[in-house]
Symmetry: C2
Subunit: 235 residues, 2 copies
DNA sequence: ATTAAATGACTGACTAGTCAGTCATTGTCA
DNA sequence: TGACAATGACTGACTAGTCAGTCATTTAAT
């Protein structure tokens, strides 16, 4: 076997010294030393999730190496397997745990009773563009689009938790707008996707083409809203 | 335990060799019409491209195996390397050669002089939805969205050849519509993306969610056009 | 016969997942 | 309180593959 040669060559300086106490004391960048065992474990789990997130977004599922995730998380590879069954279920769980706060954040818009439907939708879009489209969360959406077909469970989850609910909410808003006379196009309630379409365009544009041509996503969305609600007073 | 997606895919063993070649040879019941050297080579190259297309779409770049492409193309693995430098440049060239006819096909709309701008856009959308969104070409678009960030050259090419030209053409059409009085919203010319947005939504929906909820993309697009051009006479 | 095209067994670099061992923390008893 | 045992989180070398790319050999067109 060539293992012997490879083995020794692979890692020449393991530097076993600063494992536990060593790693804890000098790492004052962490606000929490956390000498409690369970706390530290949870902290590590969080570090793994964050690292995995970055790696998966940057490389996609198949091209991501667990060694890299471990390195980025500051953890040994074996530790990953204390928290996740395997690479695939780590990916799925990752998406799930990332989606929930994203959706929560998005639906946490203060439902001002006096506001017009247009203002509500615009506020929503503003939040989405600022908090999702122009941040790493947007890459998460792109990641789901990219890997969805190969991870039906992820696509299902995303449909149930985000798409289905989001469209239902948007439909309700559209119907409110129609009832109030703000929206003339009654057929729009059949396709809430139309309301959301420019937001998704913004996400994709951001990842792929913003280098070539920056896109003012919010202004684009406002023009889109003009189509639906009619021209603004203040242009 | 290995990756489930990879594994299940691995099972589907393509049968005898001339799967693709047979499909390519147009007007003959003969499996092997070409005895000319250059012709056969070109045929093989085409088979490799078609097979690679299918595999890359189904699995993404990193998870696709050259062995599978070779098997599907009815060719030995070494043959691939007679036509392409390596996996990566094969992918890039593949996208390039697939995009060109796709764009050509799309811009080959007969520019009827008497038609309204709305009819032109609608005809365009109809072609797009029938020929791209609901076919394998749509998956190609999704593939570019998925792999674009990891293949800047592909993203660049796509921007130059498709996005940039497409938006310019669409902008011209919008300006024509404004000049003719068909379109009231002058700001729309700033964001031709809005015009196209539902078409992209349709492509993504098709790949990810059509199992859960089918989407009548053409009707959606018509409703979208109602927003831009005003309500249709015949609802 | 000559030579380009095609083949597929082979190589070696790479990686998901394992597991025997380590050691900081926690629990227990005197 | 101090000593010692039990725990289990953590480690990383290791195994068992996988797969891109090569090349000596075979096939077949000219």
């Amino acid at each position: 076997m060539t293992n012997e040669a490879t083995k020794s060559a692979r890692k020449s300086a393991p530097k076993p010294a600063d494992r536990r106490a060593g790693a804890r004391a000098p790492a004052s960048s962490k606000p929490k030393p956390a000498s409690n065992r369970a706390e530290r474990a949870a902290e590590r789990r969080g570090a793994i999730i964050a690292a995995a997130m970055d790696e998966f977004i940057a490389r996609g599922f198949a091209a991501t190496r667990l060694d890299d995730i471990a390195k980025r998380a500051g953890v040994a590879k074996g530790t990953i397997y204390l928290h996740f069954k395997d690479k695939e279920s780590m990916f799925e769980e990752l998406i799930r745990t990332a989606i929930v706060p994203l959706v929560t954040r998005l639906w946490a818009t203060p439902p001002q009773p006096g506001a017009s439907v247009r203002d509500m939708v615009e506020g929503f879009a503003k939040t989405f563009i600022e908090e999702v489209a122009t941040t790493r969360r947007g890459d998460l959406v792109r990641l789901i689009v990219a890997e969805g077909p190969r991870f039906p469970e992820v696509a299902d989850f995303y449909y149930r938790e985000v798409v289905s609910r989001g469209l239902a909410g948007m439909r309700a808003l559209i119907e409110l707008g129609i009832a109030r006379g703000e929206i003339q196009h009654k057929n729009l309630a059949q396709f809430p996707q139309i309301m959301v379409a420019p937001a998704l365009i913004a996400v994709i544009w951001q990842s792929l083409f913003s280098r070539h041509a920056p896109l003012d996503a919010l202004e684009m969305f406002r023009v889109h809203l003009d189509l639906i609600f009619g021209e603004r007073r203040t242009a």
